[in-house]
Amino acid sequence: MADLISLTINGRTVRAPAGTTILNAAHSAGVEIPTLCYHPNLTANGICRLCVVEVVGARNLQPACVVPVAQGMVVNTETERVLTARRVILELLASTVDLSEAPEILAYMKRIGAQEGRFEGGVRREFPVAVDNPFYIRDYSKCVMCWRCIQVCAGDVQNTYALTWGGRGIHSHVATAYGVPMPQTTCVFCGNCVGVCPTGALKGRTEYELTIED
């Protein structure tokens, strides 16, 4: 049994084994911290920063999914500073990405008073839907670049490495190497990427066709 560490989350004393992340320690104590890129089965990367929390004494907000607990740490998960950061993250996301098939994100935005249209009018991330194989489509206009699909395809699950990043800056997106169609890559069409996609950017052909019909 690992050593138990004592910390404070939202004013309550919480104990957790050394090495536990703030996210998991909070979850065990019944405190839910919102996440977007984080997935319990995958390596946490702290990409989206939706899970940021305030750690007393730390200069910056800390991503709860990757920061381990420390003895005596004082964590506040819903301060105004935290909520402001989360609102801005989601408002920026909503201004560039189609979140229409991410109901959990939309619900959370509503809960914390984030406005979808706050940064409207800038460049939107728009890509044609890639329909290049019999099994799934890739609609990167809906992609929040959480990295989950790339991770499952790589060392977190499949060790297939069919997916990578393409482009730079606002144009960066998940891609195949050299942008070739999926059947020409190492893809084995396991669809484990589809299984972890949080926004409907990846979905099966059958589901996609039904969505269009609706």
């Binding site: 499949q158 060790n159 059947p183 084995v188 396991c190 669809g191 299984g195 589901e207 039904l210």
Partner: protein, 726 residues
């Protein structure tokens, strides 16, 4: 997209037994996901599990009972050419016809003239009732299933050495392995989700992997050591590893003394089977054999995983024995991270055997030759049961030619795609007096049938599957079956009632009063001490339980043989180097190995009507670049592959994946069926055919005129490509 319902079930393809959530809307499945927190797959699926369920709603599903319009007679049985050859009938008429015909055969030729194939795709409950019907109503033990064609070699070997034949350790242990050997298993294509855990053991935990395989499978990319032995030389390779372990003092003497027998005779036999001797036979450098032996024996825990490459051989049971010898020498069995693990093929091939779908045993391998066991089943079934083990499925075919077998009950099996030497098997089918098929699609065999009984698919019925690590898991109703199709257990229950009434045995009908699949399981577990602790409620709560599970509060058994082996001590078996395979010669200079590709399932009945077919739409003949050069053949050119049994035409896929002199042909494609070529030679103990070695010749051929897609270049055919380069 919002689902109207999400049904937790179990994947119907391979033996990994992945849990799936079927998303349903408007009576149709539109998505399959895997629960992230549930064994054995923890959110992972492969292409077949995630996307291959579309066969369920395919318009060609069998939906109504059918009877052939023209009476079929032995020797003149013909394949139906289309729907017009069938008459749609009521269930009453169909079942009465089946009962009448079977009883007539039993009357004229004896009950042993009837044979039945249980189904490794159907549920435990379905298979239990099939063997109960064949044994308890018809009165013969001639029931067997496709395990005979896949792991019979493993089963026979493991029975001799240990007295048990299941995979000894669990999938859950795989990601923490220290050292393991994979042999005769193209794991990434045949057990894709298991392969993800094995690959992670290497990549994340630093496990050392030894691959012994003639083909450059994807697993070789993760191997510390790849032993590329010549096809069929497995026993020489593993004997030489054992020789090194003994001669270098690496054997686990404490384990040998405590848990094994036959060691001294075995060691005496190993003398002379040196790595240098094996190098001559296998082509594997002696130094590599030594390194592999040291790696395996030197690990604190090491596991062996194998597949069809070991089992499907004229010496499949010998191959298995050389592997069990290795594990016994090193004590690598009976602990986590060790074990002897035949990776079972079908979703429920373990369960089909467990449910009594074999000629010599009832549920959980209770032998029917044991009078006490037989008496227990006789009392429960209200029947006098035959005491002689029945025929194996490979003997069904020969039994037709000797006049012993007259009728065949096919539950979900397609022998004209799966049996070796297709022409021979077809001739047998043509000779049958009566053929009935209970299936979800027309296939290459049941177009010869007299009666078709349309069955429900996995997504349309309740029941249980048992996966490769003996984990019993439930399947559930997600969508309604097409037309009048019904779950197999219901069909068999009604057929039993009809048959028993005609036989004038109404008292036996009392033991056929099932109203649900759960009723069937309840009877199974009452008669099977190893299953007693498992019921449907527990399965719903715990998601799955590994049998043996003798009591409701027993946790189940993820790994076997901790204290002892079922036969007591593990037995060493000296194995001589020999082969009865058909070896290449001047006339037929290539070795043919058959097997699978990731995107298809076996005879193709389910996957060739699925979106899966689009990604690998045709048969390919895998050929080494040097051989291709000599034949002046390039990838995409058409070749004729011929053996002494027949010929097929398909496109060449030139790749260094197969060694020189070997061609590999997948057996999914009816228009170029690999089993046209294969031979009927069997392992003497296991009766398993030699699907991995037979002799063929190759020549360039013209594109077949009637083959769809023949005019499209191979590169334009889905994802067909050379996986390894030259």
């Amino acid at each position: 997209m919002q689902a109207e319902s999400i049904i937790r079930s179990t994947c119907p393809f391979c033996g990994v037994g992945c849990r799936v959530d079927l998303h349903v809307r408007g009576g149709r499945i539109f998505r399959a996901d895997a629960p992230f927190d549930v064994a054995p797959n923890y959110g992972r699926l492969c292409v077949k599990g995630r996307f291959g369920w579309d066969f369920v709603g395919h318009p060609t599903r069998l939906a109504y009972p059918l009877v052939r319009r023209t009476l079929q007679t032995p020797g003149h049985r013909t394949p139906a050419s289309g729907p017009e050859d069938w008459r749609q009938v009521s269930w009453d008429e169909a079942l009465a016809t089946v009962a009448d015909r079977l009883l007539s055969l039993a009357d004229r030729f004896g009950a042993d003239s009837i044979t039945a194939n249980a189904c490794a795709k159907a549920t435990n409950e379905d298979n239990y009732l099939l063997q109960k019907y064949i044994r308890g109503v018809i009165g013969t033990n001639n029931v067997d299933h496709c395990a005979r064609l896949c792991h019979a070699g493993s089963v026979a070997g493991l029975q001799l050495a240990l007295g048990s034949s299941a995979m000894s350790n669990s999938i859950a242990e795989m990601s923490d392995l220290e050292c393991f050997m994979v042999t005769g298993s193209n794991t990434t294509e045949t057990h894709p989700v298991i392969s993800t855990f094995l690959k992670q053991a290497v990549e994340r935990k630093g496990a050392r992997l030894i691959v012994a395989d003639p083909r450059q499978t994807e697993m070789t990319q993760f191997a510390a050591l790849w032993l590329r032995h010549r096809p069929g030389t497995d026993t020489a390779l593993f004997n030489a590893m054992a020789n090194v372990i003994v001669s270098e003092g690496l054997a686990n003497q404490a384990f040998i003394a405590a848990r094994t027998e036959g060691y001294h005779a075995y060691v005496a036999d190993l003398a002379g089977k040196t790595p240098e001797w094996a190098e001559q036979i296998t082509g594997v450098p002696a130094a590599d054999i030594r390194a592999a032996a040291r790696m395996y024996a030197g690990a604190k825990a090491a596991a062996i995983y194998w597949g069809m490459g070991i089992s499907q051989s004229t010496h499949g049971s010998d191959n298995t024995l050389t592997l069990t010898n290795l594990a016994l020498l090193c004590g690598h069995v009976g602990r986590p991270g060790t074990g002897l693990n035949p990776l079972r093929g079908q979703n429920n091939v373990q369960g089909c055997s467990d449910s009594g779908g074999s000629p010599g045993v009832y549920t959980a391998y209770q032998p029917l030759t044991d009078p006490a066991v037989r008496a227990k089943f006789e009392a429960a079934w209200g029947a006098t049961l035959p005491d002689k083990p029945g025929l194996t499925t490979t003997e069904f075919v020969d039994g037709v030619f000797t006049g012993r077998v007259k009728g065949w009950y096919l539950m979900g099996e397609n022998p004209l795609m799966s049996e070796p030497h297709q022409a021979h098997a077809r001739e047998a089918v043509e000779q049958l007096e009566f053929l009935v098929s209970q299936d979800i699609f027309f296939n290459e065999t049941n177009i010869y049938a007299d009666v078709i009984l349309p069955a429900a698919s996995f997504a349309e019925q309740e029941g249980t599957f048992t996966n490769t690590d003996r984990r019993v898991q439930r399947v559930a109703v997600a969508v309604p079956p097409p037309g009048e199709a019904r779950p197999d257990w219901q069909i068999l229950t009604d057929l039993a009632h009809v048959t028993l009434k005609k036989m004038g045995r109404p008292e036996a009908a009392a033991s056929w009063s099932y109203t649900s699949a759960s009723d069937v399981w309840e009877e199974m577990r009452r008669l099977t001490p190893d299953f007693w602790g498992i019921d449907y409620e527990r399965l719903a709560r715990e998601h799955g339980v590994h049998w043996p599970c003798p009591a409701p509060d027993h946790p189940g058994t993820p790994y076997l043989f901790e204290q002892e082996f079922p036969r007591g001590r593990g037995k060493f078996w000296p194995v001589a180097w020999k082969t009865d395979s058909e070896l290449p010669d001047d006339e037929y200079p290539f070795v043919l190995s058959t097997g699978r590709v990731l995107y298809h399932w076996h005879g193709g009945t389910m996957t060739r009507v699925s979106s899966l077919d689009a990604i690998w739409p045709e048969c390919t003949v895998e050929l080494h670049p040097k051989d291709a050069e000599r034949l002046a053949v390039a990838s995409g050119d058409w070749v004729e592959v011929s053996s002494r049994r027949g010929s097929i035409t398909a496109r060449a896929l030139v790749t260094g994946r197969s060694p020189r002199g070997l061609v590999f042909v997948p057996f999914h494609f009816a228009e170029a069926a690999a089993n046209v070529l294969t031979d009927v030679r069997l392992d003497a103990r296991a009766k398993i055919p030699d699907y991995k070695v037979c002799a063929v010749r190759l020549s360039r051929a013209e594109p077949p005129q009637d083959r769809p897609g023949a005019d499209v270049p191979l590169i334009g055919r889905g994802a067909i490509k050379d996986p390894v380069g030259q």
